[in-house]
Symmetry: C2
Subunit: 724 residues, 2 copies
Amino acid sequence: MKNKLATAILFSMCINAAMAQIPQGYNLWLGYSKIEDEKVLKDYRIATGSICFEKAGEMMEAAQLELNRGLECMLDQTPYFTDTIEISTAMVVARRSKLDDALLNALTSDPDHIGKEGFVIETIPYKGREMVVITAGDDSGILYGTYRFLRLMQLHQDLAGLRISDAPKIDLRLLNHWDNLDRSIERGYAGFTLWNWQKLPGYIDQRYIDYARANASIGINGTVLNNVNANALVLTPMYLEKMAALADVFRAYGIKVYLSARFSAPMEIGGLTTADPLNEDVQNWWNTKAEEIYKFIPDFGGFLVKANSEGQPGPQSYGRSHADGANLLAKALQPYNGVVIWRAFVYSAQDSTDRAKQAYNEFVPLDGRFMDNVMVQAKNGPIDFQPREPFHPLFGAMPKTPLMMEFQITQEYLGFSTHLVFLPKLYEEVLRSDTYAMGKGSTVGKVIDGSLFHNKISGMAGVSNIGNDLNWTGHPFAQANWYGFGRLAWDPALSADTIAEEWIRLTYSLDPGFISLIKPMMLTSREAVVNYMTPLGLHHLFDTGHHYGPGPWVNNLSRPEWNPTYYHKADENGIGFDRTPGGSNASSQYAREISTLMNDLETCPEQYLLWFHHLPWDYRLKNGRTLWDGLALHYQKGVDQVRGMLLTWENAKSFISDEQYKEVHMLLKIQLKEARWWRDACLLYFQTFSKMELPDGVDKPAHTLKYYQSLKFPYAPGIRPQWN
Amino acid sequence: MKNKLATAILFSMCINAAMAQIPQGYNLWLGYSKIEDEKVLKDYRIATGSICFEKAGEMMEAAQLELNRGLECMLDQTPYFTDTIEISTAMVVARRSKLDDALLNALTSDPDHIGKEGFVIETIPYKGREMVVITAGDDSGILYGTYRFLRLMQLHQDLAGLRISDAPKIDLRLLNHWDNLDRSIERGYAGFTLWNWQKLPGYIDQRYIDYARANASIGINGTVLNNVNANALVLTPMYLEKMAALADVFRAYGIKVYLSARFSAPMEIGGLTTADPLNEDVQNWWNTKAEEIYKFIPDFGGFLVKANSEGQPGPQSYGRSHADGANLLAKALQPYNGVVIWRAFVYSAQDSTDRAKQAYNEFVPLDGRFMDNVMVQAKNGPIDFQPREPFHPLFGAMPKTPLMMEFQITQEYLGFSTHLVFLPKLYEEVLRSDTYAMGKGSTVGKVIDGSLFHNKISGMAGVSNIGNDLNWTGHPFAQANWYGFGRLAWDPALSADTIAEEWIRLTYSLDPGFISLIKPMMLTSREAVVNYMTPLGLHHLFDTGHHYGPGPWVNNLSRPEWNPTYYHKADENGIGFDRTPGGSNASSQYAREISTLMNDLETCPEQYLLWFHHLPWDYRLKNGRTLWDGLALHYQKGVDQVRGMLLTWENAKSFISDEQYKEVHMLLKIQLKEARWWRDACLLYFQTFSKMELPDGVDKPAHTLKYYQSLKFPYAPGIRPQWN
């Protein structure tokens, strides 16, 4: 039987992006460029000309639509779809339960044992011909398998002898949108939220669908729609109706909707006088609310909660613990298999101890006290998404609690959307860090994927860098961070190198000459930003509120730990935060293998030096230079690295379109300007303490310290709105 | 000599929008669809295959780029460009000064007398062949002539015997952007401002160029970049640098940059203690500021000022007049040929008289007291951009002052960007209204284009409906309002009918079957919104602040004239605002021909009935119905008209793509829902006074009055930010 689909989408939906009358970038890594290589084109046309595609539900329909779109664009050939195997059939896409024995027996992998959401792609002999088979245990596996197959084709992979069996290593692969009801995005640098609350639920923007496609293509299976600094209104019917409309779009792409819940919602929208988790009215309110939500969204994922953190309400306001608070919501969601994701990003205004220690101190004693459907979500480091931090000491320290990783994809502290910084390099560093919790090899990645402590559930979240800019992420290379996050959430063991290469080839060019230039540029970009912003373990030198540009001199904020001076502690005697036993002893929160390493100046890696130690300006680094000289040279190196990136880009001009070239060239020039600003401002400020000359090789500052201190950016993007 | 350009843009830049992997709408009316008609295609390919295009400066280069783009897309043929006439040359684009005598003599029109920015397009015999000539006195004429020529081609106009000579009737054709520094847009419903302040000046978004192209194509030659509720920071170097970067982009497209100036800027950013226009320090400050601005932007257009209006600072704070204030700025700009556009939208919190009368009372006595480079900009009606108002009585009443028209393109009071309302119908009604200022035929259009009073300068402004939505305006049909505004600013005598037909053909389809459905729908859409929101002369029934939806019951705002109850004055005795001599006597501000007409119930057009009269509920309309019944039936008719629009769209499905169909279908369904809401809410409320039953034919309300009164929309878009 001829499938309806092929006729329903008669029009080819593809273009060569370079030929479009529109700015590039909208199509992300799903450009499906026409394949020009004659041999590849011919092989692919034969292999995909006639496809038996199982008809079953909206998720498989979405997969089929995408397959059709991708094949039409890449091959300029509309595939012939059937739902039974015909003489001409060259490819089969169907769930394992629908495969006949001849197909099943020919497969190398056992599709019964690939795991949830997993898939098999193989090219097998079948009745005298080659047959491409995509199969899976469930619909989502088919969806992911189809996207993987399209990616292989974009990468010009030879289809002969394909033997792929893959499944996600992590259960919950979520984006966290810090998106507000006024459409601003806290820490958003790519425009405003995609969610057009005013036009929802009646108007479904095509972008919602394309957002879901992009996420499904890299395996993201959930999205928290609103800011963790949450407005209780999202839980009212007026907004639940809008959320439900989005959930209806996302469902076909395997994406569940989650909401950030404001802990005091029972008071704000429920008319109660308390939000005490042990109060029966409060419990009933949440139970009823959960029931209501599931009426709107039958597959609602659950709540993300920021409680007792930076002014947000929480259970501690009633003398209760985080576990009491999380379990209150978990109980309400339990009948519907919803989860509570409780953030560990807490630090108290009343606690004068090292901010880096507080989450550990509050949460470790609660290990084992959370319900089964609660996850604790910790940022990758103990402070706040800095260019470099050691991993968070909670990882490995709560064996009975599934810990969810919170990475930040949006570049709050890494140059907004004008700096090219390839973040998978940062993610990789964290995931490969060894916690030693169960002996050597107990990496953060194994904590997160649940394998170390055999958790029943696992998760990784990325704070989204997506906005309504035409290219979604502001900087075209920031698309690589969204892409890379998704790939690592699927498989935390992937290397940044692999991800960079995939992304470049999918997005820009398959040309080895281009890749050999751009991949090293991407892979060094994160070290560059560390160098020109916060080298040698420095952290949180950012200007107040907006975090745009340097503000190491800021010391007038109401809470001590909001001031950069709190973190670098520079004075005439030296610089750095002593977290050894002689100082805050934060190092003791790590396994002994690590604390020993960090406490000892002989063994402490210099990249964490000033994170763990306060040292005199004339302290000698491993290379024999003074700390002051080393610091200055690191800042200079960062600037030089950006200058190198600019040069690399100029050398790559011939491989890409003029528009593609110009766009990134303008951005790299901004990045270079701002890298110099960071270097000059920080060095001038620290020099007031060190009283030492800049070493040879470091450029003379362009302005005075006073000038840098005078800069004001009242409308820098991404600031938290006043009403939150 | 072969022109460099042709090789520089080797890649075709066109696509069929329906084939793109992107949501439609980005290309506006400049889609340049491939011409499928064989005859037309052949003729056009011959006529434009070889073009002699004069090389001269960036504006003509922009014209040539656009011509190349348009021809490549429509004809799939890259034109051969030269800058001398060759044997093969079929088309010449050059300024009049460069034309040889053979060409000049063959022209019907005299290119020396077409006026500034005007152009001639003719197909003439030349050395034994047909030659298409686009010529003009200045570069901008070439730019506009090129866009006109491309439009003719998009409309499949026969090129044989072309005889077109055209020039704009109005000097200043401006968009007013109410765009803020946090990127929100006051009364913006299509996302957020295009101006990415954070990335300016270093990053030039492709959208800036495409914005300029779209405006140039319809003759818009100026843009006010920031909100009239202005932030003084825009006048600081940090922002002037950003404005200059935009001006650099727009210059090639004939578009000048203007800024909204905050009257108190000398205090806020200048450190003065006063902004008194007669104070010498204040005068010096503005003179110096003007000098500084022109260093950044040598062709800066001038200032737009909202003063002593809705809390904005102004000269009256110092006991000075609007003329004193405007002349202060005019004097500063005069050396550089800049203009001051001073808004007449004023009404005082202290003035208890009819708000509709106040602008007239304040401004008419100042006629003749403004400097030559001052224009006074008045909204089309005396209240505030209502679905229908009589024209503003200032038009015709200030013969010595060039009055600039301010239309609102963004739909603050007309359904935001979810209602399909074709505004040129409203603009046409206003422009064709007769002021009788110099006897019969003294239309508002003639006041505006300067012909009635022989003003030295003329202007028309449109409050932009443009945002960063992918399709620029939110609703695809709202593009027609931007288009139509531009066309009317070029020629205020154009008909809405002509504009609608042009736009449909440029945007959707040349098919007469489609046009015959959609054009009537567009042309009736404005009357529909009047019917379902504010029929029979009612006005300002909108809910507080955001103006989203009905709020006729609102009477608790701090200023009486902010309350809907102030405008409808409904009580048990009747409804309407008495502006006859027995009431506020606002009618006396019009010429006697008009006031006589309006004051007399026998002659007052029913569309203005309740604007000028307070009438009992049982007053008999011309059709014999009671006022109550007539009101109810008008509301019902509005709903029925929207239902008709939805049906029309459904009937037009076969002419357009699925995506195009779905998009507008969703929007029309929202519009129908909201039309019903308006009808039900207003009728239920007015019924509490009339105590009369709804007449037959009027649907029963879906909810209670209390329900409608309970609706709250705290995050409706477009509200003025608190910090303004």
